[in-house]
């Protein structure tokens, strides 16, 4: 019950974030118009925002790879298999944003499952594998943890972003909320 309430609260927070984001975008576009700039030009990201986008893109791979590997361990639990497909779409969405805003991602290898060159992402992945290997219930709790972490990170990353980026991040968060619900349901079944 509490967890369901938690998901609802997070959804409410997202709605508020969108309203704030849209207001900010309106202010920005009004300001740009006043300065005589093109109204439909692609907004620019600050250097910090580009860095954030790049990190989010790298981080999305962490969830997909974890679910691929845990799905191979717990072949009778289809939650991992179904969500890993969705996580690939998250990677695709983040990649498209990177391309749109000129963020060079050519040096990232999406195909090497479970291999991360950034030590903190590798540490995350290794911990997920260790914990998830104990039992199906532990593996599902890893999934729950990942989704909560992704939601928090996307909420933080969306602050101050142009509306198109914020909208994509919001869609990713909505997806993560659905994943969270799926993991919570699977945990309830496994207990």
């Amino acid at each position: 019950m509490n967890k369901n309430k938690n998901v609802k609260n997070r959804r409410n927070f997202l709605s508020k974030m969108l309203v704030v984001g849209a207001s900010g975008a309106t202010l920005l576009s009004t300001s740009a118009y006043a300065r005589g700039k093109k109204r439909n030009a692609t907004p620019q990201l600050t250097e910090e925002q580009k860095d954030t986008l790049f990190y989010i893109y790298q981080e999305e791979k962490l969830a997909r790879d974890t679910y691929i590997k845990l799905g191979e361990v717990y072949t009778n639990e289809n939650t991992f298999a179904s969500i890993q497909i969705s996580e690939q779409r998250h990677i695709d969405s983040a990649r498209e944003l990177c391309t749109k805003y000129g963020v060079d991602i050519s040096h990232v290898n999406e195909d090497s499952v479970g291999e991360f060159e950034l030590p903190i992402l590798q540490e995350h992945y290794d911990t997920f594998m260790i914990e998830g290997d104990h039992s199906l219930l532990d593996a599902l709790k890893v999934g729950e943890h990942i989704e909560v972490m992704d939601i928090d990170d996307l909420e933080t990353a969306a602050v101050g972003m142009p509306s198109d980026v914020a909208n994509v991040f919001n869609q990713l968060k909505e997806g993560s909320l659905n994943h969270l619900e799926a993991f919570e349901a699977a945990i309830a079944r496994a207990q």
Partner: protein
């Protein structure tokens, strides 16, 4: 001023010695909190009280100190002394660079940015700017 290639060795040595003050000195503040989150994850799964403290480290100094103390013990207990070999240093504009290296023969990389107080590990500095 320590050069990035020297910082890599300092970082690994300090991390697995549990010397988090030295780890903190190697990186930007945001990256340090990300390091606590990442390397504290194992304890988080085992200990709900630690997990709760870890959530508060950015706002609560007492929580930060407790997390650092517990994580320091955990890191030391891993008894991990990886062999680090620098492979390549790639400049990325004037204020960023990437170091490619191996950790026990596995390829790794760390991003650096030039801050007011010297080169720092910065997990957000991986985007190519030049």
């Amino acid at each position: 001023m320590l050069q990035p290639q020297d910082i890599i060795g300092t970082y690994y040595d300090a991390l697995y010695r549990g010397d988090l003050n030295a780890v903190k000195a190697c990186m930007t503040e945001v990256s340090y909190f990300m390091t606590l989150e990442s390397f504290g994850l194992r304890l988080s799964f085992r200990d709900d009280a630690f997990k709760s403290l870890l959530h508060k480290v950015q706002e609560d100094d007492a929580a930060l100190k407790e997390v650092e103390a517990l994580l320091s013990e955990d890191l030391l207990s891993r008894e991990y002394t990886p062999k680090i070999e620098i492979q390549n240093i790639e400049e990325n504009g004037d204020k960023r660079l990437t170091i490619y290296y191996t950790e026990n023969e596995k390829p790794k990389r760390l991003y650096f940015s030039k801050e007011d107080n010297g080169w720092k590990i910065n997990y957000y500095a991986g985007r190519k700017v030049a």
